[in-house]
Symmetry: D2
Subunit: 424 residues, 4 copies
């Protein structure tokens, strides 16, 4: 185990083999480039809202991460391509120096896309040699790859938001033809609760906030076997769910009024029917698909309307199978769609599922020292945990203990919900 | 037990005796009037910020509560003094009809204070007769009294905020002379954790959100015997705590920068020393008093700086003694001051203590049906729980299971903190 | 002529007699008190918007003006009642020292109304003696009186705005019964233009911005004999004037959309008719009255819709009779009403008339030195000139050369319009 | 004269010859393309603030103007390339149909730059044939060319603002080496005033707001022979001009405080000296150049500080020579620089000069009917007139009667000032 490993404090796991890490690095980096093929310099430059970032920035920032925390920190012979990128592509790591103001990321026209790709290649060459040299702290390399995977999903959700601002409804990629899948009627799955072990075991990669693994206690509960579908959501809309404050949290109601919410983000109504704008353009609403692009507030209101509740993240994790198989992102499959039922519960590959849990530290959690410690801990206020993984989530990000988190008003991610109820 | 009791769903407790409820009603109502003696019509009219309300509005609103949920709902012969007050003094009960916009409460110059006091008297007469008649649902009367006690503390904290806007530093009441109390050096109290029972037992009054009582599991932990003091906080300031983002949650840091926080609210620095503006005017900082008027963000940053953490509300409740004795609000004692050590932990009568817990429902919680169900449940997002009770908190509000809650950026309440740490 | 007169630079006019100035002072001060009789401490405390001020503040500020620019500056023996008022009741005179933030004026509950009236009396006693002593610079006394008259109208318009926020529609004073006056059909009055003399002659009081008197040149034009009436305005509304951007200035259209304007301020539509909220409460719309409480943007849009234009202030002044007679404010006559036709044009006593002229300095204008020089000059951007005088305007403020000015989006003043057109 | 000419109402001038108009069209269109050579797709896409537009949008919009008002309106056989561009590239012409929201222009990544250039070429082909056919209303073609010239300057000022957001200080084009020119000491030029004729004569092209030509009357005045220089401005800064409210209009002072102005836009101070960011990157401040990138508020404050005033637009026009010769924009000469003295006054080719005149209609002005009538008239509120022309202004835009206008707080244009004073 490298020194840096211990000092970074990222979940100490078994020593990752150099070859497998190199493979992970190369595969991850290639997957990112694959995502942007077909995008032009115009597409990758603007920023459509403060929450989102330009594709070009994502492309540069994930390289910056490797440069900052590996090449600059641990590779003495490394020569940076441009010292100014250190400032320009830092996202929020206060301890890694000053940062360019987030809302203005879309105003950086230079470096151009071509120049950013050259920067990326420069970092790739240095990283490949560094990993092969055996001197690289492999745990941080692995962290960087998972960091980049997170940005892969963000690239697509941010791009979708940007394209949605364009009245011409542009298409990112045509969706593969998929036969409509009939989602079976959802059933209630029972869990007896009691003492459970929650959190990452520490034998494979995980982010710091997924641990420490610890015991906790659960009351008996039920989970729906499937996420709520668009057909379900239409009933909520038709029943006046968006107009009835009784179902809503107070903050949620205020936000819904202010933003004039009356359907999920990207839903468009024409005279006769609902359509959805997605990465493959405007498509008719598939009523059998899980509902997507809803805020926590909407998820919570829906659950109240249905007389149920959201599951806690503990309930979710305790119920999740240890091995998973779902519909993972492949190029061209970009919208959530019903996956085959696995007999237990459809948990991955469609939508991230809002839970009832505020994003707070597990008992015993301490953020690692240094800039890497800013990865997760400092966001532990005002956000809610999502579990599972969406059609845009890379396969390696889909794990039982993964704690995704967003603000309760945010809707531009691939977010849906699953119902829960108490057994009384 | 009255019918209304069952339907209201407020924690079902033992039948409250008519006489004791009448006594509670009269005592509560008198205490409110006592608070405003000495305030003129000018003082009770304006609203200093959206979070606060005018005293006149508080005075009217707590009467509205009794009128709306008891006299209008259950006393058929009741005749309202003015039908328009039903709209004017509703706070947020959506199901009780439309409401006057909250930020504009300070613009209602009429009814005048005198007229509001007449309205109050009208309700008091009707309520007294109604309670004596034996027809009143006593649980709702009791709820109304506790509701009014909550507003008693708000009257003072909102008034303090209003007076603080006045460069003339006006005085609400002169503080009783109290000899400075030396707070003993804090000690660490150990708790072994394990399975614990949390939440209200249901034999006396409690708000709905204090239950259901339920089992949960705790890791071993320590609590400080005393809240953090002003002397402690000065060390945090002097060590640059307000200037170092490493200690801060990301949202907290953004807020602190935006608002230029560099000390608790109401602290004023002159050339040589710190003073505090309080209800008795500007006073020199008492370094032995618990620090007060800090946000959750500041509390959390302080704990990080100290290498500790905030306790969860479960840890706090599990550690609290079943019978309490503290410094409760008496007329003229308006600022937090060190209370005598009770051998275990100074938990009540100084400051509300921010906990690490987001305000979320307990397992099995369901809000009561109807407007009364809006009391607590709809606020269960984006807020943090505080435990204990302050120098301004009525004695009956001080109980082990009480869950106070505010947004993490709010500072105008009597808010402080106590440190915790893991036993590892 | 006193020294101060020359240094103040306020329009140098003939020496005002001591007795007449004392009479003016006493009459002006008494008129202000008369305005507030019937208002309680609650009514005079809050501030309903940033543009408006509390009555209590007005009452104090006009006294501050005499204290600051006469007693403190020129009466060596004067002893202030409270030094802190110097800061508290300064409005915008930068050179007179720091000021309390304007938007927070409604939060100053103390001094109370009673204390402010005592302050007023203190100043009155000192001022009366000072004037009688013969040492007072009488031109500044006269300026202070005219300053106070300006605030008399503001007291009423600000109070109206405050009361309008109250859903109970409170009444300031019952309006005197007045028989409906039939406004004669308006006629076009022709003016041949050519070289005209404009601006104050300097033989009686005027504000600095009313001069210097100077020559200018006018094309031939026509003015309507009467202001636009409510009946006219209803036709504009019914013809979709508020929905058609063709009639509107670009900034006006943006404002109208943002604020959802669809009628003048204080107009309330019920199922069958229009009512107006005024100082005597809600009254049915009098269609023969001049339209009131419209912004410049609305006035300009109306004129475009009518195929006419607003007159310039030069055209207005050149057409105005040298001696005037109108409906001036008397106690209890508070809403604009049709005045008798004077054969020439109904120019005073109903509404201020928006002109087409931006408020800019006359040729040769220089602001006086010192704080008094801030009176008018520094506001000469972004505002438009109004001419005439309203039903709330003190008689002495009604003069041919008076240049009132407000921002083009403001509507809470007594503002209407008169049409003009070119003779071609 | 074509029918459309009469109906458009744009200043009726002598019949423009078909050949000269075709030449004007081709030259104008080529000049625009020349401006953007060297800009990549990234540079032309984002929008740096609401006041500015992306280069790509400018390129498309000026073509839209020809398509909308000529090809669609008058060329029956014209086939649009893409019907959706009609909506996408309308700027503010309400009567030409709906428009895409201005602040979101930077989010339109598609059509790409290449596609926009194809659209431009499509319009060019159709326009060339249409002009040659003899059926085109030549006055509107000429208007479209002048419209495009206005956007040529905007392309560069908007681009400069965008590039200024980039901490890497990118360069648009290297400036031609120019020998420093010594500006002669300014002298005061006297004008006797009296009756003057102002406004466009109507024999060559002009925008509607430049007329009608009319008589007006001026007092005697002086103008400085040269604009205020950077050296002058440094004295204003050093004398505390930005910190002293006495010199400022009230609105100007508020804006300066809010925006923390302490120098013109694009000035950057390092330890020892001032630099300016411009289209050729960061350059040392040339103290002999006219000061540029100041708001009207700053210009007015400077004049107050200097004990002078701004000239009115009438004074400026009455003093301007009938034939002009200055430093006009050539490719690569992009920053204002001292031009040779022409013996009378350096009036064109450096900076636009803020005047004291609010932008209001001339006597007798009526906006043309229809969408073209929205060109100037609807902006006649809240803006101030600028006269002259800058180093970025096309030569044909430089004429005695041209009335440029901007809001008094705007600074991103090439704006400076010239001093005036009364002769008394």
């Amino acid at each position: 185990m490298s020194e840096s490993f211990r000092s970074s404090g990222i979940c100490p796991i078994k020593f990752p083999e150099l070859d497998s890490i190199l493979h992970l690095y190369q595969k991850t980096r290639a997957a990112t480039l694959d995502l942007i093929s077909g995008l032009g310099p115009e597409d990758v430059t603007p920023q459509s809202m403060e929450d989102a970032s330009p594709t070009k920035w994502h492309i540069a920032h994930v390289s910056w991460f490797f440069e900052e925390f590996l090449l600059r920190a641990h590779a003495p012979k490394y020569r940076a391509l441009d010292e100014r990128f250190r400032y320009l592509f830092n996202s929020y790591y206060v301890q890694a120096g000053p940062r360019y103001a987030r809302p203005d990321r879309g105003l950086i026209t230079r470096p151009t896309l071509k120049e950013v790709l050259a920067y990326r290649e420069h970092v790739d060459n240095a990283m490949t040699n560094f990993i092969k040299s055996g001197d690289a702290p492999l745990d941080i390399v692995e962290l960087g790859c998972h960091h980049e995977m997170q940005h892969q999903e963000l690239i697509l959700t941010d791009l979708l938001h940007l394209l949605s601002q364009n009245p011409l409804n542009p298409i990112y990629r045509d969706q593969k033809k998929v036969d409509p899948i009939t989602t079976p009627a959802p059933s209630w799955l029972e869990y007896e609760g009691g003492m459970v072990e929650i959190g990452h075991l520490g034998t494979t990669f995980a982010f710091d906030c997924e641990g420490p693994r610890h015991s906790t206690f659960l009351q008996p509960y039920r989970l729906s076997s499937h996420p709520v579908t668009n057909a379900d959501w239409l009933r909520f809309i038709d029943d006046g769910g968006y107009q009835d404050p009784r179902y809503w949290l107070s903050d949620g109601w205020a936000k819904a009024q202010q933003e004039c919410w009356e359907a999920p983000l990207y839903w468009q109504r024409d005279e006769t029917s609902w359509n959805i704008f997605g990465l493959s353009g405007v498509q008719p609403l598939n009523v059998d698909s899980p509902v997507c692009h809803i805020s926590f507030y909407e998820a919570d209101a829906y659950a109240s309307w249905a007389g149920k509740r959201l599951p806690t993240e503990i309930e979710w994790e305790a119920a999740s199978p240890t091995s998973i198989k779902g519909n993972f992102m492949e190029s061209g499959v970009l919208c959530p769609r019903p996956s085959q039922d696995n007999g237990l519960a459809q948990m991955w590959g469609d939508v991230w599922e809002w839970t009832a849990s505020a994003y707070r530290p597990y008992p015993g959690f301490r953020a690692p020292e240094g800039a890497i410690g800013e990865y997760n801990g400092k966001f532990m206020a005002n956000q809610f945990v999502l579990r599972g993984g969406s059609a845009l989530t890379p396969e390696l990000q889909m794990r039982t203990t993964y704690r995704n988190f967003f603000y309760p008003f945010q809707r531009w991610q691939m977010t849906g919900l699953r119902l829960a109820e108490d057994i009384v």
